[in-house]
Symmetry: D2
Subunit: 348 residues, 4 copies
Amino acid sequence: MKATMKAIVKTKPGPGAEICEVDEPEITRPDQIKVRVQATSICGTDYHIYSWDRWSANRVVPPRIMGHEFAGEVVEVGAQVESLCVGDYVSGESHWVCGHCQQCLMNDRHVCANTRILGVDVNGCFAPYVVVPAASAWKNDRSVPPEIACIQDPLGNAVHATLSGEVIGRTVAVLGCGPIGIFAGAVAKAAGASAVYATDTRNYRLELATKLGADQVINVLEADAEAAILSLTGGKGVDVVLEMSGAPSAIRQAMRICRRGGRVSLMGIPAQPVELDMAEDMIFKGLTIHCIVGRRLYETWDTMRSLLASGRLDVSPAITHILPFEEFSHGMDLMRDGACGKVVFKMP
Amino acid sequence: MKATMKAIVKTKPGPGAEICEVDEPEITRPDQIKVRVQATSICGTDYHIYSWDRWSANRVVPPRIMGHEFAGEVVEVGAQVESLCVGDYVSGESHWVCGHCQQCLMNDRHVCANTRILGVDVNGCFAPYVVVPAASAWKNDRSVPPEIACIQDPLGNAVHATLSGEVIGRTVAVLGCGPIGIFAGAVAKAAGASAVYATDTRNYRLELATKLGADQVINVLEADAEAAILSLTGGKGVDVVLEMSGAPSAIRQAMRICRRGGRVSLMGIPAQPVELDMAEDMIFKGLTIHCIVGRRLYETWDTMRSLLASGRLDVSPAITHILPFEEFSHGMDLMRDGACGKVVFKMP
Amino acid sequence: MKATMKAIVKTKPGPGAEICEVDEPEITRPDQIKVRVQATSICGTDYHIYSWDRWSANRVVPPRIMGHEFAGEVVEVGAQVESLCVGDYVSGESHWVCGHCQQCLMNDRHVCANTRILGVDVNGCFAPYVVVPAASAWKNDRSVPPEIACIQDPLGNAVHATLSGEVIGRTVAVLGCGPIGIFAGAVAKAAGASAVYATDTRNYRLELATKLGADQVINVLEADAEAAILSLTGGKGVDVVLEMSGAPSAIRQAMRICRRGGRVSLMGIPAQPVELDMAEDMIFKGLTIHCIVGRRLYETWDTMRSLLASGRLDVSPAITHILPFEEFSHGMDLMRDGACGKVVFKMP
Amino acid sequence: MKATMKAIVKTKPGPGAEICEVDEPEITRPDQIKVRVQATSICGTDYHIYSWDRWSANRVVPPRIMGHEFAGEVVEVGAQVESLCVGDYVSGESHWVCGHCQQCLMNDRHVCANTRILGVDVNGCFAPYVVVPAASAWKNDRSVPPEIACIQDPLGNAVHATLSGEVIGRTVAVLGCGPIGIFAGAVAKAAGASAVYATDTRNYRLELATKLGADQVINVLEADAEAAILSLTGGKGVDVVLEMSGAPSAIRQAMRICRRGGRVSLMGIPAQPVELDMAEDMIFKGLTIHCIVGRRLYETWDTMRSLLASGRLDVSPAITHILPFEEFSHGMDLMRDGACGKVVFKMP
C-alpha cells in the first residue's frame, strides 16, 4: 500500500486551495532525490495561484501541489546521484532548467528556454515530502536554520538583482518593499552601499525595510519620492535603482531618479504595458537596464550561502510569521493584506 | 582689421540657414586650439536645426555657426596646450565635457552633466576655421583621409553602441539604416559577428548596409521583419540588437527579436513616449539594455583609430556624397529625402 | 561474444604505443553516449604520453587507449540522455568535470577540482568507438567537416585564451606557433585585432601562422623579437600577449612586450619554475595576467561553433596532415620533428 | 621679498633629511592651485628616500621637498582653474599624469607612461604649502577630518587592489600588514567579504589588522600560514589574495593559497626577481593575476569618498601616531622599526 501525506493542493480552477491526503511522491528517475520538507514559505506567486489570477489560469493545471520554496533533509537519492547523500540538508532552486538550450550551455540557466517551475508546472513542496532533480537542489550550510534556508529562492532574486552591477560605495534606491525588496536593501548594505533609500505604500513594510538596513524610507502616498531621492542625492539621482514593485509609475520613476550613467535593475512584473519617456529619461542619460528573472545557477546561491553562513547578511527580521502548516489559509490572508514580511510554515 | 570667413549660419529661428561672412574665430583661452577645417559632414542633428524642429527651437540660440563633425589641421595652439602642435591632423569630439562632475571623474564623460555641443551650444565647424578646447580634439592617423576622419563622431556612436557588449560569434540585428546604423553593421562584422541582419524602410539604405557587410537586409514595409529574424535564428532571436531608428515600433520589436539573456543597445531617439510589454518581452527574458549616447572619451576613439588605420574597418562606401561647401542646401535636401548615406563637404 | 576493435593503446610504461585489438566500449551508465569516431587528432599531450615524459609517468596508468580530440556520430544513448539522439554529430570536451565542486557550481567548470581527462585518466578516442558522458559531448553544426570538428578541443584553448579579454582594435603578440598558437592568431584576427605578431623558432610554423592571418612573424633564432615588437608598436608594446610556448624566456618576454595596462594570457606550460622581474615588468606596469587552462564549458564551444559555421574563422590551413589511422607512428614522428601543424586521423 | 616656509627637504644624496627654510611655492601655470597643508602622512616611499635605498638614488635628485600624502585648504587658484575655488578642502593624487598618452586617453591614467610623482620627481607636501595641478586635486567631503583625508593616496591603493575583482561573499587573504595591507582588510570587509585572513611577521601589525576587521591573523614566523589558510578554507584556498608584502616567499604563497579560478592582486614590490612554479600554482589553476599600481583616477577616489563620508569604512584605528611636524625624524624612526600603523603630521 502506498504511503500518503497531507499537502496543500490547488484542486480546481478558481480561487482557493485545500489540504488533501495525497500519495507521497516517489523517485522515478535515477537523477532525482526525495526530500523531507522541514520549512517552506509563501511566495507572491503562490498567492497568485491561490487567488487564481489571469497568469495562473493560463499556466497552472489542477490538481497541483503548491509551493516552491523549501529546506529539508534528503531521505532518498536516485541511483545516478553523486553530488548528494541521504541526510544532506538542502534547499531547492525552483526553476528546473533543461541543461541543453543555448542559454543553459552558456551558463545563463536562469533564462533557460525550457524552464519548469516547482509548484507551478510540477507538484510542489507545500507537503511533508517533495521529489526534485538532484541538479535543482542546493546543499545548505548547517549553520543556517530551515526557516531561513527555505527563503533562499526569493532571497536569491534579491541577491541577483542587487549584485547585477557594482554596489560598493554606491547610493541605492529600492522601489517596492515586498519581501524581495526588503531583502535587496539588506543585500545592498552587506555589499557596501553607502546609502539605501526604500519606497513603498505601506508603513508596515517600510519599517521592515528599516530593520533590514535601509537608511531612509519614503511612503509614496505621503511624500514625493522622486523629489525626496533627488534631494538626498544633491539633485544627481542615485547610482543604482532596484525596481521591485512592478508598478508602471515606479518603473518610470526608476528611470528618472537614476543618475546619468547609472544602473536600473528591473525585477517587479508590471501587469500591463508601460509607457516610458525613453529619450529624456533613459537614452540621453546613458542608463544601463538589467531585466532580472530568477537567480543565477549557482553563482547567486554560492554568494548567498557565504553571506548567510558568515553572518554578513541577516534577514531574519523579515520573517514575520512562522506558522504551522495547517494554518495555510491564515498565511494566505496575511499575503492578501500585505500585513507580513515573509510567511514560513514549519513542518512537523 | 579682423579676418573674416564664409560660414553656414543659423541666422534666426525658423527653417533654413545661410552662408554668411563672419569673423574668423580666435583662441580666447590658453587650453584651446584653432583648426583649419579640411572636411566636415552633415549629421541628422544638423538637419533638425536646419528644419527647426521642436528640439532645436528649445535648444539653439541663433545666430549660430552650424556643424560638429570635422577633420582638419591645427593652425594655432593656446599657451597651455601640451598635447598638440601646429600641423597636427585632428578631428573633434563634439561633446565638450566639464571634467569635474561625478560622471567625468568616473570616466563616464559621455554622460557628463554639463555637456556643451559644438554647433549647437557654441559655434560650430561648417566654416573654414573652428576653435575648440584641446581636450576635445583627437589626433588622427595620417593614413585616414579627411573625408573619413570627419565622420568619426557618428562612427564613434556606432562603435560605442555595437561594442557595448560582446559581439564575436554573435548574431546581430541593426534596426534602422541611417548612417549610424549602416556603420554599426560594419563594426559588428569587423568585431567578428557571425551574422548581421539589417532593417529599414528604404531599399537605398539597405543596399548601403549590404555594401558595408550586412548579411541579410529586410525592408520592413515589404516583409515581416520580426518573423524573418526569428526564422533566421531558428526561432530563438538574435544575440544582440542595435536599435538605431528611434521608431517606437522598432523599439518594441528590438525587445521581441532579442533572445533570452541577450543585449539590446538603444541609440535611436524616439520623438514621443514608447509603450513596452516589459513583463513578457524584457523582464522574463532577462534582457540587458544599454542606453547609448555619444562616444566614450576616448576609449571609443582609440578603438576607432585602430580599426580605420589598420584597414580592418572600411566605411568609405557609406560616404555617398562629397560636395563643395557652397552646395550646402543641396546636402540638406539629400538629408530630407533620405537619398544619401553620409554627406561630406570638402573645404577648399 | 563481445565486439572488438583496433585502438591505439599505451600498453606499458615507457616510450611508444601499439595498435591493439580491444573490446569495444559499452555504455555502463544511463547518462553516457557511444560515439563512432569519424576523425581524431593528435595533441601535444598525446605525444608526451607516447614519449613518456615525467608528467605522463606520474599520471597515466597503462593500459590506456590514447586520444582525446574527436568528432563522430552518436550510435547509442543511455536511458537518461535527453540532450542527444542517435545520429547526432558530436565532438567531445576532453575535460570531464564533476558538476558539484565550487568551481563547477560557479560555472568555472574549466577549473573543476575533480577533472578527469579523456585518453589520460580514462580510455580515449584513438579508436573506432568511444563512450563518454553526454554532458561532455558537443553537438556540432553539420556544415563543419569531421577533420575540423575534431580539433575543437585545442581550438577551444585558443579561443578561450584569445577572448579572455578585449581584442577588437588591439595589437596582439602570439608567442609560440604550435597549433594552438597558430589558431590563436586566427581567432584574434576574426575578433578584429588590428595586428597580430607571431614568434617561434621554426619557419615552417611561422609560415602556417601567416597563412592563418598573422600580419608579421618573427623567428626568435634569427631576430630580436622583443626589439622587433617594440619597434612595430612605436615603443609602447602590444595591447595583448598570448603566451603559447611555455618557454621561460618567452614568458619573461611576454611581460616586457606588453604595454602598460595591457593583458597577458598564459597558456604554454613551463617545465620548470620561471624567474620574473615582477616589479619592473609586471607590477609597475599594471598588467592583467590570465592563466588559461582548458576551455569554458560551454561558452567557448558556443562561440567556436558560431565562428566555424559562419565561416568567420577558417583554420583548415593549419591541418597539414590527414592520415589513415594505421599511420599512427608516422603522426607521432611528425609531432616530434615539429614538421606539422595539426595531424588528423580519418577513421574508416 | 619672497615668503618662506619650513619644509622637510632631502638636501643631498645619502641617508637623512632636514627641516629647511625654503621659498613658499608659487603658482606658475594657470591650471595649478596652491594648498595650505593641514595634515600630511609618511609613506613607505618617503622612508625609502629618507634611508636612500637604491631606487631613491636612481630616481630622486636633491634638493627635493619630500612628501606626497596630504589634505588641506585651497588658498589660491590659477586663472584657468574652473573645478576648484579658494577655500575648497582637498587631498592630492600623488601621480601627476600627462593626459595624452594612450593609457590616459583610455582612462587607465594610473599607468600613464609619463607619470611624475609628488615629493619624488617634483617638490612635495612635507611643508605648510604645496602647489599642484588642479587636475591632481580631489575635493574632499567636509565630514572627513584632515588626518584621515591625508591618507587617501595609500588607502586608494588598498581600495584599488581590493576592488579590482569581486569581493562580496568571498574569502580574502591579505599577505603583509603594513598600512596598505591593513586598509585592504578593512575595505574587503566593507565590501562584504565573508572572511579576511591576514598574515605578517609582527604581532603589532596583526593586532592593527584585527582592529580593522580581519577575522583571523597569522604570524608567519610562528605558524605555517599556507597550511592555516588551506585549513580555514576546507582545503580549497581563498577566493581572493591581496599580496601587499613584496616578499618573494609571500608571492609564491599567494599563488598556492588561491583557489582554482581565484584572483590574486599583487601590489607589494619585490626587490629582486621572483621564481614561481607557474605550471602547477598558476596556469593549471586558471588564476587571474592583477598587478596593481596606484589608484584609478578618479573611480577609486570616488568610491573612497563615499565609503569614508558614509561611515561604511572606518580606518582611524590604523592611524597610530599623530605628530607635530617638527618630530619628523621620530616618525621616520617609527617607520624603520615597524612600530606604527600610519604616521600623520598635523600642521600648525
